[in-house]
């Protein structure tokens, strides 16, 4: 029997996975803009962005067909399948099955439900108490965000360096069709966190298939709660089953207990790999109603649920305690549209999609310098050639979590994310008594004006009410190592005054050469 279900599953997975990874790795900004919708159907972004419609659809999908989400929509799940498949090829050739194929094991319920519980409780308490830590654990566990970080910090740099190599070869032949790109958006910390995630997920996938999804991933655990009672499911026809155990060797979720003829539906990701492996055709994917959960699994479920509830007070006090972070000391500059640092910290899970699409490479993942809650989340890091483009709103358009809400260019042009602070004693006009004016030159709103100083020289003056904090001035200021003009973040974004428009001065009719 041809396994059409599996073929469909693989085809759909590729339709989700490839556009998404291409969108993450694209440095040319030529990929079509609608691809960011692929990120908007990921469960954690859906929850954080409050997309009720998509959430209900995903829950309904799981209730009807099981954890299809994990096999078809989740890019990290598909990545694991890819890694596992890579090594399966070698395995198939070797004769001794027992050693190399998957085996049934009992679920690590305590672990998976505790992690899920902590994530959920922090999230709920975060919403009510406005804790900075509402998504901190989720950031490290969310499969989509991990996939994003792996793509942005490992795959994308590889693609860019490949391009640079091609460009170098082309340049030797005087061909300017490619262009060099120096990566400024990957920090050591962001690279390491992505590498750790890739290694962890990769090794688990190699050894135990979907072990990550079934013991660590909060999305998997959450959907598992629903897929226990899903209507369509893989069933074993006991009259045909010979208990040969081949199906459990093929199951990458390691959830088929062939001795007991039982399938743990909370862990089954509907990959359908088992279906055609069965020689007696005892496995079927079909409608199964009414649903009966096994008593054993019900017991563990109840136990873990109780544990979850019991841990609520503890976690809530933890969340309460750490709430008071003083943003006035060291505040990150957050993208226009994020409204305020607090909201941004709560909603962002550091998928780095905005970082990969910032044409100015000004968005950079933070380290621990803005506190533990802000780690790996993007902030605007101004340096030579890197500042926030006046006309650009791309990060606000593509953020799947709604951590950066969509704003129009007109709004962005008056959104004050910070204010320029001019330090006259460091300015080259003051120290060297030469013209400069680089900061004024780069200011898109004329908030930095050159005003008379002495001997025909002009020196910058900042009109704070006009400044939007784009960092044009800071990025170009030639003073090193500490610049003479720096942006101080607004913890809560403000609205700047609109630059005044003047009437176009009509040119006098008797205009001549003038020389």
């Amino acid at each position: 029997m041809k396994n059409y279900l599996k073929a469909t599953r693989v085809a759909l997975a590729l339709v989700i996975f490839f556009p998404l990874i291409v969108y993450f790795c694209d440095f040319t900004h030529l990929t079509p803009g609608f691809l960011h919708h692929w990120a908007e159907i990921q469960l954690v972004p859906v929850v954080l962005a409050g997309s009720i419609g998509i959430l209900i659809s995903l829950l309904l999908l799981t209730f009807l067909f099981g954890r299809i989400y994990c096999s078809v929509i989740c890019p990290l799940g598909i990545l694991q399948d890819g890694i596992a498949r890579f090594t399966q090829r070698g395995r198939k050739k070797q004769k001794s099955k027992k050693k190399r194929w998957y085996h049934y094991y009992k679920p690590y319920n305590w672990m998976r439900y505790s992690l899920l519980a902590i994530c959920v409780i922090f999230l709920i308490f975060g919403i009510f108490t406005q804790s900075d830590y509402s998504t901190t654990l989720l950031l490290y566990l969310d499969p989509y965000s991990n996939f994003g970080r792996i793509s942005a910090n490992i795959f994308r740099p590889l693609v860019i360096e490949g391009n640079n190599l091609i460009n170098w070869v082309a340049l030797q032949m005087n061909n300017y069709h490619f262009y060099q790109l120096t990566i400024h958006t990957v920090t050591l910390a962001s690279f390491l966190i992505a590498l750790i995630a890739l290694l962890l997920v990769g090794i688990l996938a190699l050894l135990h298939g979907r072990l990550f999804c079934n013991s660590i991933c909060p999305v998997g655990s959450f959907l598992g709660l629903i897929s226990r009672i899903s209507l369509f499911r893989v069933r074993i026809d006991e009259s045909k089953c010979t208990k040969c155990g081949v199906c459990s060797l093929a199951c990458k979720s390691e959830c088929i207990d062939s001795k007991e003829n039982k399938i743990d539906y909370s862990r089954c990701v509907c990959c359908f790999n088992c279906l055609d492996r069965c020689k007696t055709k005892a496995l079927h994917y079909d409608f199964a109603f009414p649903v009966t959960a096994t008593s054993a699994s019900r017991r563990t479920f109840l136990a873990t649920s109780t544990a979850m509830l019991a841990s609520i007070p503890l976690i809530s006090t933890l969340a309460q305690d750490k709430k008071t972070v003083d943003y006035t000391k060291l505040t990150p500059i957050t993208p226009p549209g994020s409204r305020n640092v607090k909201r941004f910290v709560e909603k962002c899970t550091a998928c780095h999609l905005c970082i990969t699409h910032c044409p100015m490479q000004v968005l950079k993942p933070a380290g621990f310098n803005f506190g533990f809650a802000y780690a790996f989340k993007p902030h605007l890091a101004y340096s030579t050639e890197h500042f926030c483009n006046y006309e650009c709103t791309i990060c606000s358009k593509i953020c799947p979590n709604d951590a950066i809400t969509e704003i129009l260019p007109e709004e962005k042009k008056v959104t004050q994310i910070g204010i320029a602070q001019f330090e006259r004693s460091r300015c080259v006009v003051f120290t060297n008594e030469h013209s400069c004016g680089a900061c004024s030159e780069h200011c898109p709103v004329q908030a930095v004006k050159m005003e008379p100083y002495k001997d025909g020289l002009t020196i910058p003056h900042v009109y704070e009410s006009l400044c939007i904090g784009c960092g044009g001035c800071e990025s170009i200021c030639p003073v090193r190592p500490v610049k003479a003009i720096n942006i101080l973040a607004n913890a809560v974004h403000q609205t700047a005054e609109k630059p005044q428009e003047e009437e176009e001065k009509a040119v006098t009719k008797d205009l001549d050469f003038g020389f």
Binding site: P359, H434, S435, E441, H442, I476, E501, F515
Partner: protein
Amino acid sequence: MKRREFFKASVAIGVSALTFNKLSAALSSNEIAVEATPDMVAVMGGAPAEMLQRALKEMGGIGKYVKKGQSVVIKPNIGWDKKPDFAANTNPDLVNELVKQCLRAGAKKVTVFDHTCDNWQKCYANSGIKAAVEAAGGNIVPANDESYYKTTTLPQGVKLKSTKIHQALLDADVWFNVPVLKHHGGANMSIAMKNYMGIVWDRPYFHNNDLQQCIADICTWQKKPVLNIVDAYRCMRKNGPQGRSVSDTSLLKAVIISPNIVAVDTAAVGLFNQVEKMDINVVEHIANGEKLKLGTQKLDTLKVKRIKL
């Protein structure tokens, strides 16, 4: 004309040119100007391409500057992510016409670039220059990364002794400096000399080490542009170099061209003064350039041709 005849004619003209300058001009064919070419041509009152055509014709035709098989670089100002109406960048129609003329004169290839201040792809696209160059058959090339630049020495420089210049320009046989006429907050005016800052990588060095002197220093680079073509079709009269809106600009409908960079900047400041006051003495890099013998501010010593269309 056969090759041998051509050589004979050329030698004859060459010899006579050495002794009888005016006679040689008279002997030569119609395509070569009958009278000696002026030092500067200014044209007013037309569309950008039209004014450029006329100005180049008065300067002896493009063939005088671009020879067959040469590789040409055109360096406009494409510094800012602004639409052409802001006059923050060189007029795209002007660039288009110049690319066409160079290719018609037999240039092997015409390359255009600028080290932009805003994101280079946005600048190239929104200035209209990318489309204009490509429509004319030229290449617009990136200048966004240090790897495109090679260190070059400037023996005559006072403050700037060496800097990294774009490879495309280093490889070119001839180049045109094609700035737009602008007010500038730092250098006071941005015209032909200031436009040189777009050929180098490290601009903060300029700002850190006497901007006005460094601008003059970079202009001492041995490979001089064959012509400086100042686009003053629309000029930015204040809030330069970016401008806040179109109301910061004035429509002057002028083009000034000259191989003499100091003279062309001096003339452009004169033109500018009719719409906004600007003391040429505060545009120090012009005087600094004169000190370095890059040209003269005394326009009355030059043969200047002024044409109104």
